[in-house]
């Protein structure tokens, strides 16, 4: 059928269904067309827009064989209470077939406070493990071979300090930094925009990030120095297109900062990684993953002139959408997570965390974490979804949606460029406002029943309170305080003071890379709060400009 006669046929079809749908209205709130045909892909050029897997523009995936060679890394985000408790959970996960670690830190750690700081009261060990000093880090990775495992750390504002601790632990165990594999999140811009664990203002924060880029490119070559995260932007309520647009705009800002600091784009770009959300609309998510790879490849090649193909690749870790878990009928969450997993796998993720069914209620229990991990394994080994590279390519719908999400994202990126880049757009509250508008719209749709969430606004039942939730022992705070008091009594305090003084001086001089100095400081068992305290003193603290 040629395009002209297809156009006629489609027009005929549309007239027919419009008539029918006048009688039997279609569901509300449907964002995409009813039907996709070759007409929606007019002008598509296979070579230019898709290419083969492992080659520019990487729409079909960053590796040539994808999961036929090796499955994605099944990386379960975990950590709570003390280093001792979390170490047990890590070793359990590795024994259960998890193939990488992902450390969750508690909020005081993420915001650079010690457990005995007054502001930490009630928060110690709650949403992740409490790390106050190198001593805790040594316990956290006890009996885990850092030369073999790859470790992802969800740490941003104090990423330099936690990375330094990791390097120091490895060194103590005779493993050089060149052998280390892993990722630090280190993405401060989305903290300002969506996640909230910032410490310093943008300028010194960007300096710390470029210092890490530079240090790692020379000393920790296999480390992913940043995980530019859309996950939390989506959790805060953005759309799929906004998720990748705002994140890629952040990525552009990091590249510009690093280049401005004198780094060659190909020296760091290959170690940039991304972090996407796997949300509920399965095919839209697949299209989002594909679109994001194409957008990034073009930006790196055309805008930044990167020469190394590795610099063009958008490698991505994924987590299923926590905000889509329901507290109502929590068993249903297993199904949601399975569908989200399917989306991430068909979208070609490099690693994946699957949420547990009880996470709308509390931190997950060991049993529910096992089901979440098994979900990945079932998709990998049984579903067949991982057997073919980019299985949905060529679907009229998925290709058209990939184009649409790309176009929407590019429009946002242009707008942010016009504002003056992601840093300014965040400082002015533009990005936050766009996200909040989408979040509010979503909420209204749910409350008007234009959007159905099973078990929440439809198919509800009377439920008994869920039992057997994980509870973090309230004594963790006291335990950490005691550990800190012991540490402060027995370490070489003169060495600590000297290291902190040196750090303070270096913070005031933009030409100095802070990483080696922070590494020295952590080795003296200076605490996270002490190190961040020095930086707070010199850099000041970010004042959020929340707009509503």
């Amino acid at each position: 059928m040629d395009n002209e006669s297809l156009k006629l046929k489609v027009a005929e079809y549309t007239a027919k269904v419009e008539k029918a749908s006048a009688k039997f209205p279609e569901r509300k709130n449907l964002e995409y067309n009813r039907l996709y045909t070759p007409l929606d892909l007019e002008g598509q050029d296979y070579e230019r827009d898709l290419g083969l897997p492992g080659s520019y523009p990487f729409t079909r995936g960053v590796q040539p064989t994808m999961y036929r060679g090796r499955f994605w890394t099944m990386r379960m985000y975990a950590g709570f209470s003390t280093a001792e408790e979390s170490n047990k959970r890590y070793r359990y996960l590795l024994e259960s077939g998890g193939t990488g670690l992902s450390c969750a830190f508690d909020l005081p750690t993420q915001i650079g406070y010690d457990s005995d700081d007054i502001i930490s009261e009630g928060e110690v060990g709650k949403v992740g493990v409490a790390i106050d000093s190198l001593a805790d880090m040594e316990i956290l990775f006890d009996q885990i071979d850092l030369g073999k495992v790859s470790t992802s750390m969800t740490i941003n504002a104090p990423a330099s300090v936690l990375l330094a601790m990791y390097i120091a632990v490895a060194e103590k165990n005779g493993i050089g930094p060149e052998k280390l594999n892993g990722t630090i999140q280190n993405d401060i811009l989305k903290e300002y925009a969506a996640r909230g664990t910032y410490i310093f203002p943008p300028k010194p924060s960007m300096r710390l990030i470029t210092n890490i880029f530079e240090y790692c490119s020379k000393n920790v070559p296999n480390w992913n120095t940043i995980s530019i995260s859309g996950y939390h932007i989506r959790e805060a309520g953005s759309t799929a297109a906004q998720e990748i647009a705002f994140t890629i705009a952040d990525g552009i800002a990091y590249c510009e900062a690093a280049i401005k600091a004198g780094l060659d784009v190909d020296a760091f770009a290959g170690r940039l990684s991304f972090f996407w959300n796997a949300h509920n609309n399965v095919l839209e998510e697949v299209a989002k993953f594909r679109a994001s790879r194409r957008v990034w490849a073009k930006i790196m090649k055309e805008r930044f002139g990167a020469k190394n193909p590795k610099s063009w690749m958008l490698r991505v870790h994924t987590q299923t959408a926590g905000s889509m878990l329901t507290a109502q009928q929590p068993d249903n969450n297993v199904v949601r997570v399975a569908l989200q997993t399917a989306a991430a796998v068909m979208g070609g993720t490099q690693s994946l965390h699957t949420n547990s069914k009880d996470e709308a209620l509390a931190l997950p229990t060991e049993a529910s974490v096992r089901v979440a991990l098994r979900t990945q394994q079932i998709v990998a080994y049984e579903s067949g979804l991982a057997d073919v590279v980019d299985p949905l390519a060529g679907s009229y719908y998925v290709e058209a949606m990939t184009n649409q999400i790309e176009a929407e994202a590019l429009k946002y990126i242009q707008k942010i460029d016009d504002i003056g880049g992601a840093v300014v757009a965040i400082e002015e509250g533009y990005i936050q406002r766009e996200i909040q508008d989408s979040a509010y719209k979503w909420q209204k749709e749910v409350e008007n029943n234009d959007r159905v969430i099973v078990g929440v606004n439809k198919f509800q039942i009377e439920e008994k309170p869920v039992e057997g939730l994980l509870r973090v022992d309230a004594s963790v705070g006291e335990l950490q305080k005691k550990k800190l008091a012991d540490l402060r009594a027995k370490r070489d305090n003169a060495a600590v003071t000297a290291a902190l003084a040196k750090l303070e001086a270096a913070c005031g001089d933009d030409s100095i890379n802070l990483m080696p100095i922070i590494l020295e400081a952590v080795k003296t068992y200076a605490t996270l709060g002490e190190i961040c305290g020095v930086m707070r003193k010199v850099f000041g603290e970010y004042q959020a400009h929340a707009t509503l």
């Binding site: 949403v127 909230g196 709308a360 509390a362 909040q436 509010y440 869920v466 939730l469 959020a544 929340a546």
Partner: protein, 130 residues
């Protein structure tokens, strides 16, 4: 001039998840309330003092980090110390059912868990505000 209900939407503790707080703040505004949002990382002392200066009728606390058992009762205590015994204090977030009776005993009038519609919260405030 009729009385307007004034609500302080507050994020105690270190938790940075403010999607819920912001959605609730907007919904309350659209329901005709005057809403003051504190922003992130407020100590119980800051929240209590802001409530006093703004003379709010309602304090809506949002917390997802699990520190509610520690922080919510402390805020109630400080509010009462300031002589504001007629303020309606409600809470929301990832709060296990088992904790709710404890929080209520401590003076939190109602606790709203994930999936609650903003209409439910608005209706609750309208019925219970003094």
């Amino acid at each position: 001039m009729e009385k307007r209900v004034r609500v302080l939407v507050a994020k105690p503790g270190l938790d940075g998840h403010d999607r819920g707080a912001k959605v609730v703040a907007r919904a309350l505004r659209d329901a005709g309330f005057e809403v003051i949002y504190t922003g992130l990382r407020q100590t119980p002392e800051q929240i209590a003092e802001a409530a006093l200066q703004e003379d709010v009728n309602v304090i809506a606390l949002s917390l997802l980090s699990g520190a509610h058992n520690h922080l919510f009762p402390r805020i109630v205590e400080l509010i009462h110390e300031k002589g504001m015994t007629d303020v309606l204090i409600i809470g929301g977030g990832v709060i296990p059912d088992a904790d709710i009776p404890v929080l209520k005993t401590a003076g939190i009038s109602e606790v709203f868990t994930p999936g609650t519609s903003t209409t439910t919260i608005i209706d609750y405030i309208k019925e219970n505000v003094k």
